[in-house]
Symmetry: C2
Subunit: 362 residues, 2 copies
Amino acid sequence: MKIDGKPYRTIWLNDDGWGVDIIDQTRLPHEFIVARLETLEDTIYAIGDMQVRGAPLIGVTAAYGIALALRTDAGDQALAAACDKLVAARPTAVNLAWAVKFVRAQLLRLPEGDRASAAYQLAAEMADEDAEICRSIGRYGVKILESIASKKTGPVNILTHCNAGALATVEWGTATAPIYMAQAKGMKLHVWVDETRPRNQGAALTAYELGQAGVEHTVIVDNVGGHLMQNDMVDLCIVGTDRTTASGDVCNKIGTYLKALAAHDNGVPFYVALPGPTIDWNLENGADIPIEQRPGDEVKYLAGRTRDGKMEAVDILAPGSSVANYAFDVTPAKYITGLITERGVCAASKKGLLGLYPEQAG
Amino acid sequence: MKIDGKPYRTIWLNDDGWGVDIIDQTRLPHEFIVARLETLEDTIYAIGDMQVRGAPLIGVTAAYGIALALRTDAGDQALAAACDKLVAARPTAVNLAWAVKFVRAQLLRLPEGDRASAAYQLAAEMADEDAEICRSIGRYGVKILESIASKKTGPVNILTHCNAGALATVEWGTATAPIYMAQAKGMKLHVWVDETRPRNQGAALTAYELGQAGVEHTVIVDNVGGHLMQNDMVDLCIVGTDRTTASGDVCNKIGTYLKALAAHDNGVPFYVALPGPTIDWNLENGADIPIEQRPGDEVKYLAGRTRDGKMEAVDILAPGSSVANYAFDVTPAKYITGLITERGVCAASKKGLLGLYPEQAG
């Protein structure tokens, strides 16, 4: 992704060969700040405070965090302690736990003296692999956009929810990868960006990265998408997913389901872009996914920049009222037109997924 | 409605006999401020800036605005100019146009010298009539709640969107009237209050008035309702409407349509509460209703109270991004279980409506 014209990933090894640089996403969209991670503690803070967020990016960051920890002490006990602390930084992030477990298992096989450099190597490989997965999602997704573009005049209007963009991954993003590739090919595009309350990752992050990429876009509150679809102002929806079941149900940011219903009601194609590793082959039914409830203060307080330039959180709630903050919802497979993966596009069904991932059959 | 235990309407004639007092709804929920209207310009500002909002309340406010204008000049030309300016303050508000047209027609028959006092009289009558209509909506609506309560244990869970409460009318509200009556009868209730971006009338106003009335409630972001309905956490939805077509399509606050889709998908009854005067008998198809676009700053800036107690607006948008702010959407009649009017409950259809309003036939 380019920021002010300069290419960036969301995480990279500093030129000094050991420090890890990240884009501090808590400061976006109002400030672009690169933060430097030098210790395990820096990494835990970055993950817990959501300086980095998005399943793929959290995994890569954790891998670098292990590398930083091992520079001081590469013994089994220190490795175990570092891994436990990293997982505890975002207890509900499945991908974080998976990445930490994977890296730890690889490192345990090695002599202590080789572990730190191997951890750096693994982190870099994970970053490259994520970028490659997203690039591949983009290549398949752009064909869908091209097909729509060929049947209409004017820009292709895409609606997206939350941030399944470059900032949630290492680069390209999942839902945004087809958009960036279409833009690079010169296709006329316009993206409707759902604000995505409560944390506003749409208005803050998706809008920011689309703006940096020069993609035409308009931010709307989460209530608007249905009206747009009723009025032929959306050609297709593309969203990301935190977890996809073996039968194609999609667990994504709260509100995704409502947009899928509106798409279905108005004959608008509804696509979900996902990396294969986020498919949960052990889970059939989306209704069985436990839905994380996050702190009520995310609803009650809204952060932004005051007219005189300070960052400030304001309380928008009637005093004394309670709030509930369900973070995700489940969109049943029947409302999903297709799943865009790094191996191709398939129906949101067991059969569709197994067609692309036959090694998961049986 | 009682505020801190003291009974209030949303608009009333000041004890001085000519100034008009309103609750300034832009200051709620953090400050309860009574604003005074002394001129036509004050009234236009109050309507345009949404110090008063809600179809019935806007109508009554406009009637008082005409009275205030006529105190200076009660000639035909001044009357016409005042009426035009008032209607232009909220172009989508059919009730505003209707109220202004009605008052104007009554006043044109009178000699200039009698017009101002007649306008005050008409405004007061309209306020009383609105209160009576809402009370009657409540009486019919409470039967629906009683029927649901009789078939379950635990509280009746109601989801509502925006504010179709006492603050949107003169008192009682439309969607809230059944709730307040059920509460008065001792029924166990719980209301899910949609935040209702961009202006947050749910989190600010509905939560405020439910809290003042002692009704159990929980504020949620607009993205959550579908998830709740998927998980049997909503027994019914009740919303208001700004404009209902002769065939039962409902134009209400943006996002209503998405909740109606979720209700339909999950077998949750979806009711719309409405005063007869908001039915547009000349309009068949909801798709023909022009949808007001409001200023983008309503999306970009969010007002609330800082942790040190100041009211402040914060910018939540990525710099350089565009916004669109569609204020209403249309819910097709087929997704509406019933219309709750002051004359009873009917199907959302031409036949249903004409059954209650036979004088509109032919």
